[in-house]
């Protein structure tokens, strides 16, 4: 029994991963207070570690081609303990939906529409996500190419408009941050920006060519990292010390654009940008959550879960934190550990168990 009938081609997979990782340019704000002008070095270090993790994910996916994360857990850890790991993953994906919803919602309410009740944005965002995955991952992957192009144009446009204000001396002094701050910043980049792609273990089995996943995933991660570096350099070079305390540096910077007093107030572009990127991210997590619940409970399809899950997301995300600063604190000090457990520790343990048990056993996968 297969829950998802759509097929994603490998080119679409590249765009799907790139649009999924796009929201990393919005969460850079967690890193600036720690490493300031050395943030780009931390990003590079995290990128290097991510390449290793990508190899881990793709080799798991290649060993069990055609099986998604839930089935892999059942095969590797046995039926009962595998269910425990699966439950942890479902809860992890669900937490990510809630955190991104709250992040996007608090930004939008603080800067753009302060009078609107919190419920309104959450309900609309969840509705868009649920509606788009109702028709399956194939449709999502096809139409998100367009949204990705829109985000790309916006980010590159803002960069080009800001380039005249760049001040190279903002990069100095180099390597001033303490080792502890540097490690923490790398950890944040690794868990929040990059290694979220563990969720694609739910999508890899629905790709057209799931024997050669390494190439498309690596291409997508490299392009995303290049993009992230561009944004970080832009923010450090143009903003300098002014943006290190802002929790939305991207937005703060776009208010600086001033081309002959005509082209000003482009900040709404960045706000739209954030909206699109977060929607793309939530959609994938929503899909993974509903698909893995349906798979675990042996339902016939995942569509019936979308409405109740959406309602649950809205009610929990409405007052996740008492204030935005607490989310900022949690993003820096609490979440990296929580995510590191699910994104780094458990996949590595999975790979070790696969090696010890010499899985997959011959003839077992074909059934």
């Amino acid at each position: 029994m297969k829950l998802e009938k759509g097929v994603v081609s490998n080119t679409q997979l590249i765009f799907l991963i790139m649009s999924f990782m796009q929201s990393m340019i919005m969460t850079v704000g967690f890193n600036y207070p720690l490493t300031k002008q050395d943030t780009w070095i931390a990003a590079l270090a995290a990128f290097g570690l991510t390449l290793l993790m990508v190899l881990v994910y793709t080799s798991i996916a290649k060993k069990f081609a055609g099986l998604n994360l839930v089935q892999i857990n059942d095969e590797v850890f046995g039926v009962y303990f595998g269910k425990v790991i699966t439950a942890l993953y479902i809860w992890f994906f669900f937490q990510l939906i809630i955190h991104y919803l709250y992040f996007f919602n608090s930004f939008w309410i603080t800067y753009i529409m302060p009078e609107t009740p919190r419920f309104a944005f959450l309900a609309m965002a969840v509705f868009i996500c649920a509606f788009s995955i109702r028709s399956g991952i194939e449709v999502v992957s096809r139409c998100y190419v367009l949204l990705y192009a829109a985000v790309l144009v916006m980010v590159i446009g803002v960069t080009l408009l800001l380039i005249k204000d760049a001040n190279p001396s903002n990069l100095l002094p180099i390597l001033q941050s303490t080792p502890k701050d540097f490690i923490q910043s790398t950890h944040i980049f690794l868990t929040i920006a990059f290694c979220d792609i563990v969720v694609f273990l739910m999508i890899f089995p629905y790709t057209a060519d799931n024997q050669n996943l390494k190439k498309p995933v690596l291409i997508a991660v490299c392009f995303s990292a290049l993009f992230l570096l561009m944004v970080i350099f832009r923010e450090i070079l143009v903003g300098g010390a002014r943006i290190y305390s802002s929790n939305t540096p991207n937005f703060a910077l776009s208010r600086e654009i001033d081309i002959a007093v005509i082209l000003t107030r482009l900040d709404i572009l960045v706000a739209l940008n954030l909206f699109i990127t977060v929607i793309m991210k939530i959609t994938i997590f929503f899909y993974a959550t509903s698909l893995s619940i349906a798979q675990t409970l042996k339902l016939k399809s995942y569509q019936p879960l979308l409405i109740p899950l959406g309602a649950l997301c809205v009610t929990i995300a409405i007052n996740l934190y008492p204030s935005d600063m607490e989310q900022f604190y949690a993003g820096q000090f609490i979440w990296p550990f929580n995510a590191g457990l699910m994104e780094i520790v458990i996949p590595i343990i999975t790979l070790i168990v696969i090696a010890i048990r010499k899985l997959p056993k011959k003839g077992e996968l074909s059934k």
């Binding site: 996740l320 979440w335 550990f337």
Partner: protein, 71 residues
């Protein structure tokens, strides 16, 4: 409060007749459990009763399992 009940009635009416017609009792059970959970949390929030937020608190719990931290 009335708006909340109306909203959930609409949500239930969208999906449940389909399950009953196709005799999908398993889906109906999962649907009901999740939607009742969402409804109860919603009622608590409208009445301003403070309940611990599960998503916020589990991350602090997981963090407390690690022997080291950055603070």
């Amino acid at each position: 409060m009335i708006m909340l009940i109306l909203l959930y009635v609409v949500l239930v009416l969208i999906e449940v007749p389909g399950f009953v017609r196709k005799k999908r009792w398993r889906e109906l059970t999962v649907f009901s459990v999740l939607i009742i959970l969402a409804f109860v949390i919603g009622v608590f929030q409208i009445k301003h009763i403070d309940i611990p937020n599960p998503v916020r608190d589990t991350q602090y719990f997981v963090k407390s399992l690690f022997p080291f931290g950055y603070d």
